[in-house]
Symmetry: C2
Subunit: 478 residues, 2 copies
């Protein structure tokens, strides 16, 4: 579009200083600015873009003042959460101002009658989860990165994690947003209610827009009753088709919605266990090709046991080779460590591994076909494709192992080609290119290719409606 | 905005005829055209607007052809579902073409593995519910008007009903939409998956937009396992504060999410029971001011009984005067007849009654304050305000009884003033003007007043992005 952006002059730096205070501004320290120019994608691909200045406002009023200043000078502003994003949305490719929400980290209120918490955007998701637990409540919208990600970032990417099958993704748990528009105006959207039809839903439009439409400063989240008992299972299967069948039976016939149903292929699980020096059952069985890690929840011990019995039976009746139930907290921790930190395991192969930040979705019924396609894709590119999946959501995370014949300096580009073809397959199967990470920089090209011109035109129209000068996180999504 | 619209000439009628066929067009029969110029709001307020022509396409391709024709002549098009809307969204105030979806009423697929149904927009919600029951599944997004409303209309208004507290409103159960844009282009949005973050979510933006952004032709809905047992309760309370307390304890402490928690005040319940010649318990008790009608669900009889025991206890511990559990199907039917068809009861007072199509929301914690405000409002306007509420959602339906001193011909305008003041109170209490009916014509003025100029500007921008010539349902919402 050839936007002409302003630059951050010393005068603007002075004005920013007067807004956020000396201690909340970074503008000469190159190393620090680099830190504010990267997110988790940078660690995988090396993409970094140093902002001209980074500011850490402490209030919505300060965010508003920053945006008024930026918009009057047409300076790009990239809102930044914890930098845990995997798509590069927080990388300020047009430089300008990085606006970090890290200082806006207060949990303002937990209301047990309305069942909501009101939090600033920079609250670490896990802090929110822990706080509401004190009230016997639960924030169910959290992603896998809960230990580090900010709630505002979860909203910006419409995050999800292992527990979407039972509770739904972030969008399902957001009731209200305070946002600052590009021009500095503050909007209150939604509220302490779970039902509304009151004009175009700007809140729903902003969720998942990766900081390109508005800056989220405050969030009202839905809480549900917490407590109850959980049980973790490992279930080995001879192949993926069987896995899909068993999960389907468990949900539809058994009416069992596990908290999590995680798929790991043999390679991923065994290598991760080896890396963590954890012994898991069934890893020495020759006939096992895939594992499910299942977390069940019951409000009481009896309810949990009944669910476990039924779930176990349905798995065994539908092709599972065995069922192992964690007997201790230690067992559970081990199982989840192997699942959550699976990345390093494959390094034991002694080869370069690309931890694909893509996270395609296919309809659940197409999971077996996707698995077959991945095998073919691996053969075509002579790479081992290891799979970890939120299987009930049809959501795939993959790792690619570098073939010997590919020179190290070409590996990332090579891996990206594999990733792009994988995304094309998912789209062809009726899926979508990202389940929980977003588009950012990483998927922009393939995203634009996947949409019709009219859809992109409508998206540009929406962008323009919110941010006429295009100063919010330029170059992302569209 | 002073749009200049085209009119439906005889040539255009001929072209429309060639698209939908002679039998699917209405253009000279005044009485028929009147029918296509009204919805349920018309029955309450008398507002009707006769379209120039009404068409009943049988396929998405026909809808697309109609829109191409309409857009090339800038003729307004108002999409029409079952006409059960209470806000006047289906009333074609700019005349032009009414596009009725009634012939697009096929349930195309029920997929038990992906747990979705794919249906045309004109499917009656209840037909979808019945169909998926055959597969042991449930469509949980249905509103109270399920017997007559179309699924497309539910999407257009983001409908809700008594069961939102457990299952969420329509938005929560829509996975995909096929829509036809103003220019006739067809878009497929979302799909057979429950998790995605893939650019601005046009589907979420369209849900609840009352036919002003696009015409919904096909819907992919989420299904959940069905079956189980239900039990209906009537619980009498001495006052509203106590009701709120009991509901709160039931949900937060008891971790019980009833399928429905319906509030009826004494007047509404007793008069409705009288009208239907149904004897309900506790109606002769002097100390009762309010009733809850609660529907509980358990996967098994034992689970249901455990839930019932806990719910009953929590109600009694928190101020309920008694608990009655329906002992037969007949009991249940009677309870729900009194609740669902409460409108006619008040007519026994022998006075004109305004069945307020407004449906404000307040945060749950503000329900007692809203009740007090309604009493004051009733005193101010010398009208009895009878209340039926989806109380756990803070969602109010009300009826106003005409005071003797107000002349009949002034009654509707008088009642509207009461309604507007009621909406202002709800907004002041942190609520919203509509929980499930939408804005349409009825609430447009108060909606526009409730929003800041920048919000309205953004909404106009969104409207323009989808429908640059403003031909889709002009004059509604904004």
């Amino acid at each position: 579009m050839g936007q002409l952006y302003g630059t951050v002059t010393p005068e603007i730096v002075e004005k920013l200083k007067s807004i956020v205070g000396e201690k909340n501004i970074i503008f000469e320290d190159k190393a620090k600015l680099q830190e504010y120019g990267m997110d988790t994608l940078s660690l995988i691909t090396g993409i970094v873009a140093e902002p001209e200045v980074a500011v850490k406002p402490e209030s919505t009023a300060q965010v508003s003042a920053i945006m008024k200043l930026a918009s009057s000078h047409k300076i790009p502003v990239t809102a930044r959460g914890a930098g845990t994003g995997l798509a590069g949305s927080a990388i300020p490719t047009s430089r300008g101002i990085v606006l970090s929400l890290e200082k806006m980290n207060k949990i303002l209120e937990v209301d047990t009658v309305d069942r909501v918490a009101v939090v600033e955007a920079g609250v670490i998701t896990k802090d929110l989860c822990r706080k509401v637990e004190e009230y016997g409540l639960m924030y169910a919208g959290y992603p896998m990165s809960t230990e580090s990600s900010f709630i505002g970032g979860n909203v910006a990417t419409n995050a999800g994690g292992a527990k979407v099958i039972k509770y739904g993704n972030t969008r399902k748990h957001i009731l209200g947003l305070e946002v600052v528009l590009a021009n500095g105006e503050i909007l209150q959207l939604g509220g302490r209610y779970r039902k509304s039809t009151w004009g175009y839903d700007l809140m729903e439009t902003i969720i998942g827009s990766e900081g390109t439409l508005a800056i989220v400063t405050r969030v009202i989240v839905n809480l549900i009753p917490g407590g109850g008992k959980i049980l973790d299972l490992i279930v080995p299967f001879p192949d993926t088709e069987t896995v899909v069948q068993a999960v389907s039976k468990m949900i539809v016939e058994g009416n069992i919605f596990p908290v999590a149903v995680e798929f790991m292929d043999k390679l991923c699980l065994t290598m991760s266990a080896k890396h963590h020096e954890i012994t898991l059952p069934f890893t020495d069985r020759e006939d096992v090709e895939a594992y499910l890690i299942i977390q069940l929840h019951g409000n009481t011990q009896e309810e949990l046991e009944a669910i476990y019995e039924k779930a176990g039976e349905l798995c065994l009746e539908n092709g599972a080779l065995d069922v192992f139930a964690a007997e201790s907290r230690r067992d559970s921790e081990n199982i989840w460590k192997v699942r959550e930190e699976y990345g390093p395991g494959l390094r034991l192969l002694g080869k370069q591994v690309y931890n694909n930040p893509g996270d395609v979705i296919v309809p659940f019924a197409k999971v077996p076909e996707m698995m077959r396609e991945l095998r073919k894709l691996g053969e075509k590119y002579n790479t081992t494709i290891a799979v970890v999946a939120h299987i009930a959501d049809g959501n795939f995370h993959t790792l690619y192992v570098k073939p010997d014949e590919v020179p190290p300096e070409q590996w990332i580009d090579y891996a990206k080609k594999v990733y792009e073809e994988m995304t094309e397959i998912a789209l062809r199967l009726g899926g979508v290119g990202s389940g929980e990470h977003g588009i950012g920089l990483l998927k922009k090209d393939i995203f634009l290719k996947s949409k019709s011109p009219i859809e992109i035109e409508i998206m540009h129209g929406i962008k323009k409606a919110f941010d006429p000068d295009g100063i919010l996180n330029p170059g992302k999504i569209i």
